[in-house]
């Protein structure tokens, strides 16, 4: 995966985390808003991130006010300072992705949506239980796949299922057509 793609993925995760925080009416959970975005913008040492997130932000729940903005700004500055002093650690990226996934975990409504193209393709499959099947896939996507494997793999899995169902439906239709043709020829 290219550096650009990795950065894009991290930003997408951060955006989801931020959205999760915005939708918590009344309160803003710090763990899922600015600090995470800051973390994902400046990836560095895992221990520093863990120390910062663990001790300073993960447990705090505050009401959104002007004081909060100031607090967040100062924390972000403090955090950036920590990161600048840190060395590069390849494990950090995975840990950050895990943090971002944790942020959306347990709240399926706010997790990423399944790919629209795959959902559309699914609607072309001629099976009677399509609606329920699609609902099951979407539930699995939001409640199990995204938290466990991240949005990228979850989307691939979703596409894979559409391909399986589409192939099965086409095979059935083709077999039916060939059999029908064969029977009509034999009975002539």
């Amino acid at each position: 995966m290219s550096k650009k793609t990795r950065r894009k993925n991290r930003r997408a995760l951060a955006a989801n985390a931020a959205r999760h925080a915005d939708l918590n009416s009344g309160n803003v959970v710090l763990e899922t808003s600015y600090p995470l975005v800051a973390i994902l913008d400046d990836v560095d040492d895992a221990h520093d991130v863990e120390r910062f997130v663990g001790s300073t932000t993960l447990t705090q729940v505050v009401t959104p006010t002007a004081e909060l903005d100031t607090l967040l700004f100062s924390k972000r500055m403090e955090f950036k300072g920590v990161l600048k002093r840190s060395s590069n650690d390849p494990k950090t990226k995975n840990m950050l992705i895990r943090l971002a996934i944790d942020a959306v975990k347990g709240d399926p409504e706010k997790s990423p949506d399944p790919p629209q193209l795959a959902t559309f393709l699914f609607l072309l499959i001629p099976i009677r239980q399509r609606e329920h099947l699609l609902g099951d896939l979407e539930e699995e996507f939001r409640t199990r796949l995204v938290p466990e494997y991240g949005p990228r793999w979850a989307r691939l899995y979703f596409y894979w299922h559409v391909v399986i169902e589409l192939t099965t439906a086409l095979t059935k239709a083709a077999t039916g057509a060939v059999l029908g043709f064969a029977i009509s020829r034999l009975t002539k």
Binding site: Q129, G135, D136, E139
Partner: protein
């Protein structure tokens, strides 16, 4: 086909999965149950096709639940095993036991 009395192997697996999920048996849960207990990964399409066939035979019945946000506003379709399904499952188990009786001890009695 619809009047067939015996159960196919996958039909039996699906019926047993429904029995393990009282009042909460729907596509995704049934698949997870099968996956956890057998290490098989059946497609949801295969499960729904089997459920449809079992429903036609009168072995299971279904009802539609409330739409939920995590399913994109789509409703769950729950399944429940009926008396005929329980009898078919019992017959199928008995048949396996009768066929295995007298063979290697590992295949007879409670081993199946």
């Amino acid at each position: 086909m619809a009047n067939r009395k015996y159960l196919g192997e996958f039909e039996e697996v699906v019926l047993l999965a429904i029995l393990h999920l009282p009042r909460n048996a729907y596509g995704m849960k049934i698949r997870t149950e099968i996956e956890e207990r057998t290490n098989r990964k059946p497609s949801l399409g295969a499960i729904y096709t089997t459920l449809e066939r079992l429903e036609e035979k009168g072995y299971v019945s279904s009802w539609v639940g409330e739409p939920t946000p995590e399913r994109g506003g789509r409703a769950k379709k729950f399944f429940r095993i009926e008396g005929a399904g329980q009898r078919a499952l019992q017959q199928s188990q008995e048949l396996s036991e009768r066929m295995a009786a007298g063979l290697n001890p590992a295949f007879s009695g409670g081993a199946l």
